[in-house]
């Protein structure tokens, strides 16, 4: 009986978070003011972080909150404040044929995904990362990252360094 309540609570959280994240992401693409879009983006990211915890992955949930909601969206908000977007705010959303066709194709694509998911449940070879090990999620991720994936990890470090240098050089004033 107690287990039933736990699973029921999981369903409740999942449904709530799914609903809020979909509504917030719809608001992201419909708000005129980019600041509002960025803030609804934070709400979407936080809802997805809760879903990561529901999937027994607290490490990715924490990284999501720190890196996505904390760093990237903060960067976007700073750039929005740097730019003067008054004229863009006053312009109306123009509906042209290409947008309607594009949106239609995107919805068709969504139906493709939904059909694929429903038609055949995802199966595959299960690995050794069982539910018991998920309690020490951070330890497991660290072990995998520094043994099997140490070379991609170094390349990611180089990529971030290149991105920082590129950003500094791009935003430097020409003399």
């Amino acid at each position: 009986m107690a287990e039933n309540f736990g699973i029921l609570f999981q369903w409740l959280i999942f449904m709530g978070m799914a609903f809020v994240s979909i509504v917030a992401s719809l608001l992201v693409i419909t708000r005129k003011n980019p600041i509002h879009s960025a803030l609804f983006m934070v709400l979407t990211l936080l809802c997805v972080a809760v879903l990561y915890i529901l999937l027994y992955n607290p490490f990715i949930a924490i990284i999501q909150v720190i890196v996505y909601a904390g760093a990237i969206v903060m960067l976007i908000v700073f750039v929005i404040m740097l730019l003067d977007l008054e004229t863009e705010l006053r312009s109306k959303l123009k509906i042209v044929h290409s947008k309607v066709i594009g949106g239609f194709l995107a919805v068709l694509f969504l139906f493709g995904i939904l059909y694929t998911v429903v038609a055949k449940p995802p199966t595959g070879q299960t690995g050794s990362y069982t539910t018991e090990k998920m309690g020490s999620n951070v330890q497991a991720v660290g072990e995998a990252l520094f043994t099997d994936y140490v070379f991609p990890f170094e390349i990611a470090a180089i990529l971030l360094t290149v991105a920082i240098i590129g950003a500094v050089i791009l935003s430097k004033k020409r003399t």
Binding site: I60, I63, Y68, L83, L110, Y129, T130, A144
Partner: protein, 105 residues
């Protein structure tokens, strides 16, 4: 006794697909470069949700590692992309992607 079933992976995948499609529609319909950028982040986030779902239900750590790398690449992309927007605004006084069509064929 009636037992509540656990949440199937298909629901997570459906949610991920819906979020991805919303991001695609945003990229296609909005003309403000920053909104387009936010929508790209939304799509990356939806893909991350798929990775984590499969990692959980196929009991493999690789999905978590891939989501980690996707986040690192998204952060690098954010730094360079926003620097490009600032440059664009400095030279063109606009970040409307329809007005920046120098490379358009």
């Amino acid at each position: 006794m009636w037992v509540v079933p656990t949440i199937p992976p298909a629901l997570y995948l459906m949610l991920s697909g819906i979020l991805f499609t919303i991001g695609v529609i945003g990229v296609l319909t909005r003309r403000n470069a920053i909104i387009v950028f936010i929508c790209i982040e939304l799509m990356l986030n939806a893909v991350n949700l798929t990775f984590i779902t499969f990692s959980r239900f196929l009991q493999s750590i690789d999905g978590v590692i891939f989501a980690f790398f996707v986040m690192a690449v998204a952060a690098a992309e954010a730094a360079v992309g926003l620097a490009i927007f600032v440059m664009l605004y400095r030279s063109r006084e606009t970040i409307n992607v329809d007005d920046v069509n120098l490379l358009k064929w």
